[in-house]
């Protein structure tokens, strides 16, 4: 679907839910509220955007709304792309999961959850995917210290600050 036709059908079907944004590139982009995200994505899937390319997270700290979850879709027939941007609330950000619409959404949503702490309601298995399971904090948030827990160590010597703190395996080393 061409961008103009897409904007028209959005204006017809979702006049209040979808806001058209300017785009610096060829990919048309729209802002969607979290509560209407699922119906809009379902609509786009029916319109031919059958492939979910990626789900990304953004942290605009200290601006508000702070978080953004970005969806990229592709129409394989016409090679058209579309980008949806969705801003959950700042405290305890939650976005509905689309893992039942696209199976590939499940790991992508886990990644956003792992690194930004955005929860996806209805996700079949929302656990960490890149960081260790017992990790604390969300590393790609702007207020996360660059060196993680090591940055909180009051150290007289550099070696102290570089120490590895994770629990050791049982057994002799």
């Amino acid at each position: 679907m061409k961008p103009e036709a897409l904007s028209e059908s959005f204006a017809r079907s979702f006049p209040s839910e979808v806001e058209t944004l300017e785009t610096p590139f060829e990919i048309p982009q729209y802002r969607v509220k979290p509560e209407s995200l699922r119906v809009v994505l379902q609509f786009l899937k029916q319109q031919g955007y059958t492939m979910l390319l990626d789900i990304g997270g953004v942290d605009y700290h200290p601006k508000s709304p702070r978080f953004e979850v970005v969806y990229h879709l592709l129409d394989i027939q016409s090679n058209d792309r579309v980008r949806l941007r969705c801003s959950p609330q700042d405290e305890d950000p939650v976005v509905p999961s689309v893992a039942d619409l696209w199976a590939s959404a499940a790991p992508a949503e886990r990644e956003v959850f792992d690194l930004f702490g955005v929860r996806f309601s209805g996700h079949p298995n929302l656990t960490r995917i890149l960081m260790p399971d017992d990790w604390e904090g969300y590393p790609l948030r702007k207020d996360y210290p660059l060196r993680g827990p090591r940055d909180e160590v009051e150290a007289k010597f550099a070696a102290e600050r570089n120490r590895y703190y994770a629990p050791k395996l049982a057994g002799d080393l």
Partner: protein, 161 residues
């Protein structure tokens, strides 16, 4: 056993064992990052570690003597590398290849362990980003020298000494 032409060679058991160890140092197939690409060259014809008995990259730690830590060690990889080191039979040796394995390199961040020597004992550090294959080969040769001379025994034997 009958000696042919009366020739024989005198050595000690210890010396003979060390010669055997140094002449067949089998590295573990364990690539972590871009350094692993350079490490692969080690066994290719250009550098050919087969000349020094170190060409057989084993896929199982149970059959390997040499762990070449080739690249940055992520926090999530830390327990894995410890377990693999424990699975290797004694005597065993470790080469920290490149700046990241030695000190974390440019990755002074939350995800990367600042040097693999926080996790396992290291015998030889190879500088470079990445080191050239001949630098790694040089490390293997230096390790062989120190095994032959008895300086580096590896694993349990090193702790007893």
């Amino acid at each position: 056993m009958e000696m042919t032409n009366g020739q024989f060679y005198v050595t000690s058991v210890d010396k003979f064992a060390r010669w055997a160890q140094k002449s067949s140092m089998w590295p573990l197939t364990f690539g972590l990052a871009c350094c692993a690409i350079e490490m692969m060259n080690l066994v290719a014809p250009r550098y050919d570690a087969a000349r020094f008995g170190a060409e057989v990259f084993r896929a199982s730690p149970r059959q390997a003597d040499l762990l070449i830590v080739s690249g940055r060690v992520a926090n999530k990889m830390a327990p894995v590398i410890q377990q693999i080191y424990q699975q290797m039979p004694e005597p065993k040796w470790v080469v920290a290849m490149g700046a990241c394995a030695a000190s974390g390199g440019i990755f002074d961040n939350y995800a990367v362990v600042q040097g693999v020597d926080h996790l396992i004992p290291v015998d030889i550090y190879v500088p470079g980003c990445p080191p050239t294959p001949d630098a790694v080969l040089d490390a293997v040769l230096k390790l062989q020298d120190s095994i032959q001379s008895g300086r580096s025994k590896g694993g349990v034997m090193a702790r007893e000494a």
